[in-house]
Symmetry: C4
Subunit: 193 residues, 4 copies
Amino acid sequence: MTKTRLEAFSDAVIAIVITIMVLELKVPHGDTFAALIPVWPVALAYVLSFIYIGIYWNNHHHMLQAAQRVTGTVLWANLHLMFWLSLIPVTTAWMGEAPRATAPAACYGAVLFMAAVAYLILQRTIIATDGEHSVLADAIGRDTKGKISFGLYLAAIGLAWVAPWLSQLLYVLVAGLWLVPDRRIERQLSTGE
Amino acid sequence: MTKTRLEAFSDAVIAIVITIMVLELKVPHGDTFAALIPVWPVALAYVLSFIYIGIYWNNHHHMLQAAQRVTGTVLWANLHLMFWLSLIPVTTAWMGEAPRATAPAACYGAVLFMAAVAYLILQRTIIATDGEHSVLADAIGRDTKGKISFGLYLAAIGLAWVAPWLSQLLYVLVAGLWLVPDRRIERQLSTGE
Amino acid sequence: MTKTRLEAFSDAVIAIVITIMVLELKVPHGDTFAALIPVWPVALAYVLSFIYIGIYWNNHHHMLQAAQRVTGTVLWANLHLMFWLSLIPVTTAWMGEAPRATAPAACYGAVLFMAAVAYLILQRTIIATDGEHSVLADAIGRDTKGKISFGLYLAAIGLAWVAPWLSQLLYVLVAGLWLVPDRRIERQLSTGE
Amino acid sequence: MTKTRLEAFSDAVIAIVITIMVLELKVPHGDTFAALIPVWPVALAYVLSFIYIGIYWNNHHHMLQAAQRVTGTVLWANLHLMFWLSLIPVTTAWMGEAPRATAPAACYGAVLFMAAVAYLILQRTIIATDGEHSVLADAIGRDTKGKISFGLYLAAIGLAWVAPWLSQLLYVLVAGLWLVPDRRIERQLSTGE
C-alpha cells in the first residue's frame, strides 16, 4: 500500500529536521560552565521547536492513520507541509541568536503559520479524497484548537514589533495547547476498529 | 519482499537530499528584515530544487509501484539516480550564490539532465526486468513529457552562455511540466487492481 | 499498526544522531599521520558515544518488541528520549575537544543521565499502557542494571570536579555493563512465541 | 519480525553516510568553470566512495535476505559494520583534499579494510546464528572475491608509502571487482523459493 511509503518518507524528513536543529547547537567556546551561558537562548529555542515538530509528527501520524486513500494530490500536499517544517531549523537558529529582535521573532511565527496552513490543506485534501465516508472528517469535528492557533500565530507575528518576548510567549502557549495529542482521532479510530 | 527495502532506502536518500539543502540556507547576518534580502536568490533556488526532488520522489514512487521484480541491476540503476539527485543541493547552493553567472546555471542544468538520464535508465531497466507483461511499459506509453524535458534541459544549458536567467526560466518551466504527477501510471495501476 | 511507524521514526532519529557525530570528526589539518594526533581524543569520545547510542538502539528495539500498545503518551515519552539522545553528539564533541576539563565531562554525564531517565519513563509508560498482562514488565524484572547505571552516572558527574578522567572511566564502565544486549527480554519473547 | 527493523536502521545509516559525503563537496569558490578545477579530486574520491557504499548496501541487502534469525549478537555485528562505513566520508574528504599524500591514502584503505573485516564478522555471525541449515553459508561458498579483496587492500595500504596513486588504482580495482552484485546469493535464493 502506498500509504506506508508516504509515512516512511514523512518520518524520514521529520526525523532529519528535528535532528538538523542539533547541528545549530554549536559546541561552546571554552571549556567552563560559563561557556554554556551564550548557548542558552539557542537551546531554549531548540527545545520549543523540538516540541513543535514533535506535535506535527504526532498529529501527522494520527491524521494519516485516519486517511483511507493516497493520491498524487495528497503526496504534494504532504510535501508542501514538509517544506515549511524544513524551514523551522533556520528560523529557530535565527531567533536563538537574536532573541530580542523583531525580524527573527516574526519570521519564526510566519513559518509556523505557514506550516499550520499547509497542515490544514493536507487535512482538507485527505478528506476530499476519502469522500463522504471520511473517518478523518468525523474525527476532526469543528477543529476549534486549529482555529485558535491561527489567531494566536497572527497575534504573535504582530506583537513582534511591540515586544519579541510577547511573541515568544504566544509560541510557547500554542505549543502547550497542542501538546495533548489529538485524542479525538484516536478515540474515533479505536471505536471504529 | 526486496522492493520494500529499495523503496525505504530511496526514501531515506531523497529525504536527506531534500533537507540537506536547508543547511545551505544560512542564518541571515544581522537581525533585521533587511538581512533577509541577500538570502533571497538562495531561497528561490531552494524552492525550485525542492519541487524538482519532490517530482522525482513522486514519479519514483509511482514507477516502483508498477515494478514487479527487483534485481541487482535495478538496485544499481536506482543508486545511479540517487547519485545525481544527491548532487542537486550543491549545484542549487552554487546557483543561489551566483544567480547571474554562466557556470552555476549550466551545471545546475547538467545535473538535472543527468538525473533525467538516470531516471530513464532505471525505467528501462525495470521494464527489461519485468519483461513483456510489464505494467510499467504500458503505463509509460510514448513518454512525450520525458522527451520534451530532455530538449528543454539541453536548451537551458546552452542558454546559460547567452543569459543565465533564460536557463533558470526553462528550469522553472520543466518543473511546471512535471508538477502534475504521473496520472498515466496511477490510472493504469488502479484499473489493473 | 502504529508501532511500526514509531519504530521507523525512532530508527531514523537514532541513525541520524549516530552519523551526525561523524560530522564532528573534522578532516585533519595537514596530510601526514602526525595530523591525526589532535583528532585522537575526539575519535575516542566518538567511539564511546557510538557504543552508547548502539546500546540505546538495541534496548529500544527489544523494549518496543515487547510493547503491545502505542498511545499518544507513549509517542511523547519516546520523543522525550529522542531529545536527550540527540544532544549526545554536541556533548561528545565538547568532551572530545576539552578532554581534561570539568564542565564538558559533567555535561556529557548529565545528558547520559537524562537519557537514562527518559528511557525509564518510556518503559514505565509502556508498562502502564499495556496493563497487568504486560510482557515488558515480566521481562524487565527488578532492573538491577538500570539502578546501578543511575548511581554510576551520578558518581561520574560528581567526579568531574575531582578528575575528569575518572568520570570518563565510569562512562566506559557503564557502557561495558550494557554492551550485553537485554537477553532477559529476548528470552521472555522467544518463550512467549 | 525483527529483521525488518535491522534493515530499516541499516538503510537509514547507509543513506545518511552516502549523502553526508555530499556535504564535503563544497560550493566552488568563484562563479566560473575554472572554479570547478580544485573540486575535481574531491569529486572523484566522492564517486569512488559512493560506489563502495553502494556495493556494501547491495551485498548487505542480499546477505540479510538470506539471514534467517536476528539476535543481539547480529545487531552488534551489524552496528560494528555501520561504524566503519560511517568513517568513509571523513577519509574520503581527506584523500580528496590531499590526493598525493601517503597518510590519507593509507587511512582510506585502512577504513575500507576494517569495513571488510566487519562485513566478514557479520557474515560469520549470521551463519553461526542460523546453524547448519544456513542459506547464507551455501550461498557464500568459498568467497574467493572476499579473500582477494583483503589482499588488495593490504597491498594498497603498503603502496601508499611508495606512490599514493598506486593505492588509489587498487581501490578502483577492488570496487570494480565487487560492482557485480553477489549473484551467488541471488541465485541461491531464487532456486530456494
